[in-house]
Amino acid sequence: MSKIKALVVDDSKIMRSAVKRTLNQLMLADFEYVEAIDGEDALEKFSEDIQIVFLDWNMPRMTGVEFSKAVRKKGNTEHIPIIMITAEKSMGKVDTALNEGGANAYVTKPFTADQVSQVLSRYIDKNGNFLTENGDQGEKKSFFKDMLNFNKQ
């Protein structure tokens, strides 16, 4: 099982630690982490070998959605799942992140290990291998619909 290179972007060190701790505790895969303190720092640290991104929204200098748009604009990055992990909860924000920002999934803070596990199961198989073809648009739309329905309940 090879290591999955994850970019963890959050202006809060505590939250970056919480994301890494949760991923390690889940033991779904072996992760190697690159950390960034905001969108601009993340863009500088972003490289072709990054396989998955965990991304906060509200950060100084460059927001998570601005970063996500910039990454998608680079081209040939559609296969990299961008998981928003953010305190923003309104449906308008979810819509913006998934449909305009190019993010693939949306988890709200404070998150549970179960929520992260559920999202990751779309990208990582039972043997801890990365499923590079996942995160297509159809799946994203379906997830968004599910989330809308969940919030309406």
Binding site: S12, I14, A18, P60, A87, E88, K89, S90
Partner: protein
């Protein structure tokens, strides 16, 4: 723009009850999801004694109005929250404690923004700032409509102070 509030707040003496209730419920939901137990709301939360602790400041705003949230957490409560949130107690004087209270304020503001949107106040949250010290006392020099909500959680008591202003961009 808010459907709930007049554009000009000069004649508004109190924060509308709908907003206060939304914030109260947001505080309960946020702290419950972090600590596993729902903090108890106390009606008589208007005492304003100087505090030894830490205060997270954050706003939910639109171009017309700004709702300021000040989460005032006494030292012992902050230490207790850090243990629950991080799995270990964080030193009160550390940068990490400021980071934690900032993030807590950020999470609360996200919940508040989504909740007050349901009652007609659409806004986005700012980045948080944090103040730590002793003999801290909050006061509002421009006398805006305010509310002071007191909660008692499993890790101790804390306050959430609200103030409602017209946004600077409108002036």
């Amino acid at each position: 723009m808010s459907e709930l509030l007049p554009i000009d707040l000069a004649d508004l003496k109190e924060i509308p009850q709908e907003i206060i209730t939304s914030v109260r419920e947001s505080v309960e939901v946020t702290f419950e999801s972090i600590s596993g137990s729902r903090p108890e709301f106390h009606e008589n939360g208007d005492e304003n004694a100087p505090m030894n602790g830490i205060i997270g400041h954050i706003t939910v705003f639109n171009s017309y109005h700004t709702l300021t949230l000040m989460v005032a957490i006494p030292r012992e409560t902050a230490l207790s929250i850090s243990e629950v949130f991080c799995g270990m107690e964080i030193p009160f004087e550390s940068d990490d404690m400021g980071d934690l209270v900032g993030e807590l304020s950020n999470i609360l503001a996200g919940e508040v923004a989504a909740s007050v949107e349901q009652v007609g106040f659409t806004g986005q949250s700012s980045l948080p700032t944090v103040t730590r010290g002793s003999d801290l006392k909050l006061f509002m020099p421009n006398k805006p409509p305010t509310a002071r909500l007191r909660f008692e959680g499993s890790g101790g008591g804390f306050w959430v102070n609200l103030a409602l202003y017209e946004s600077v961009s409108r002036k």
